[in-house]
Assembly symmetry: C2
Homo-oligomer: 343 residues x 2
DNA sequence: GTGAAAGCGCTAACAC
DNA sequence: GTGTTAGCGCTTTCAC
């Protein structure tokens, strides 16, 4: 079978303990000894057995990330951020995609209970906050992206949903819009809620009355955006701009407008969120809010790794204030009037 | 600390060995005993320690997947396919994205040597075949997606690149095209090579002469497609259709055509590969070849798990013939003439 | 059908 | 600075 630490020890003429010390750059080992050991390791192409190491040290040096769908750009970026930071600190990353399988996310807690991972990052809006809090109380290290959990030992990383939503509405207002519709995401998602909040706050700030008829519920899917826009139109009330809680729903709006012959942005201005890559290629280009996924992943991973590095992980130590990252509006054709000159 | 198997054993009034047998549905355990044990497990919310299990059983029940970029739809789909199959067989999946870091993929072999994974799937075109073969010879279980390695114990899963490329050219010919250009991917990728091969074979079959001037090299990036099209134009030779080895490069072609005022598909027909989601949204819609990523991931994972299940993994047992999956042409606007009626 | 006991390969006290 | 040794929690012969 494979070489073990004792083999290296014998080859280098030292004890296994010394080899272990060299492997983990522990304490002081005489330079000469260290080199002998390193040479032996190289000579026999030795690789320490991860399972044994984990069993003994009670740490897996692995972080799990639970996402709804890795084939969604924002989630992929978050994962990359986590992965990059984790790797730089000597951690591995296990990704769990629970696509479609309702309730399935919770099964992934098993990873934590099995001690397969040292920490778990949830990017899943569906996971109930109480369940997360409960697990954190048991002493497990958990982090969340995309919403805030009111719990001391659960670090969260979110974007400034309220902020940028207000900016989107402000942008519309500057373009001369007064009647601005909103298509929301599903209720459970804090993101969706906060974007609605920003929308309403902005209306107030700009002295525009809030009209419930201008708000329609969606569920972040293209299809739901399509249907929401049709419902808005059926009401017969006027509106010249629509803010959708994500780009997918904006694509649905495009589809509806295409079918109904509504011209974007002249007849209807559109603004989405996520800066999906499609935004740049669709005609007219879709204005959107860029979400710093990579940054969020990276920052949260850093925070979690810091927590894991504490003496008493979970109890005491640093508290986990929410990390809020700034988003950026990307203004494209869909939200700017393009009146042909000479009209 | 956590509960251990001995705690469950005591609670159920049996030995740890029996608990272990129940946990792994081994041999016959008396129904009554089994239930007592299961009850105890539930009562104390016991979760077996993965590291201990791995150390003892010498298996991690984990498969690694190495991809260039999880934020590319095709790779994400492959991963999902692997993950789904793996999970159904009780395996975990570790994903490694080596984006941008040249040569970095090789470091991931450490996972294999550390016994962190039982098998490793390479979706990385850059990884040299010889290195893969070498590792396989050492007895490691390896699989490859997207190209074939001439090695008995390395299962490969590829699409029918030559086939579908011929179909694309055939489609162009049926549309009346005689001068069809080709923009290839980078040389190292077998995919790119085979697509070129299919293109040439089809030209031959349709009695069209092969003209080297109609072929330009790209590297699968949008930018390279853009430049390749401009180079083709600069030559001053006529062509009415272009087949790009992937959709990204087709997007570059769109950009170049936009700038030069070349109308798609009337003046130039375009066909890509991958069926990137953008294809459906860009104007005009891009014709493309759908690659069954999910299926490839799933099939290869199944094969590898079967190999791992053999008595003597690596030596003897089933041989690893290449698995070829069928792709499907999705014909959209970019490759169909749309002559306004009455012209 | 079930139990006792010997490790899997490593790390971390504790000696020296 | 380095060696000795006792486990980490589980599975797996081998008895019974």
């Amino acid at each position: 079978m494979d070489k073990k630490i004792i083999d290296v020890a014998r080859a280098a003429g030292v004890s296994p303990a010394t080899v272990s010390r060299v492997l983990n750059n522990r304490e002081l080992v005489k330079e000469k000894t260290r080199e002998k050991v390193l040479q032996a390791i190289r000579d026999m192409n030795y690789h320490p057995n991860a399972a044994a190491k984990q069993l003994r040290s009670q740490r897996t040096m692995t972080i799990g990330v639970i996402v709804p769908d890795i084939n969604v750009s924002l989630f992929a970026e978050i994962i990359k951020g986590v992965q990059n930071k984790a790797e730089s600190k000597g951690y591995h990353v296990i990704i769990c995609d629970y696509s479609g399988r309702k309730g399935r996310e919770q099964e992934y807690f098993a990873l934590l209970h099995n001690r397969t991972v040292d920490a778990l990052i949830f990017v899943s809006p569906e996971m109930p906050s109480e369940v997360l809090a409960e697990e954190a109380d048991k002493g497990f290290t958990i982090g969340v992206i995309g919403r805030q959990i009111g719990h001391d030992s659960i670090p969260c990383c979110c974007t400034d949903n309220v902020e940028f939503s207000m900016e989107v509405v402000g942008h519309f207002v500057r373009q001369g819009h007064r009647r601005i519709a909103f298509i929301s995401g599903y209720q459970e998602a804090t993101d969706a809620y906060e974007r609605l909040e920003g929308y309403m706050k902005a209306l107030h700030r700009h002295g525009l009355g809030f009209e419930p008829e201008l708000i329609e519920k969606g569920d972040f899917s293209e299809e739901s955006g399509y249907r929401a826009l049709l419902r808005l139109r059926e009401k017969g009330i006027p509106f010249t701009a629509v803010y959708t809680a994500n780009d997918e729903m904006a694509l649905g709006v495009y589809k509806a407008c295409g079918e109904r012959g509504i011209h974007i942005p002249d007849e209807l201005a559109v603004f989405g969120v996520d800066n999906n890559r499609i935004s740049r290629y669709i005609t007219p280009n879709l204005s959107s809010v860029e979400q710093p996924g990579y940054l969020m992943g990276s920052m949260l991973a850093e925070k979690l790794i810091a927590i894991l590095g504490e003496d008493k992980p979970g109890s005491g130590g640093m508290t986990a204030g929410p990390i809020e990252v700034k988003s950026r509006l990307i203004i494209r054709e869909s939200s700017t009037f393009v009146r042909p000159s000479g009209r």
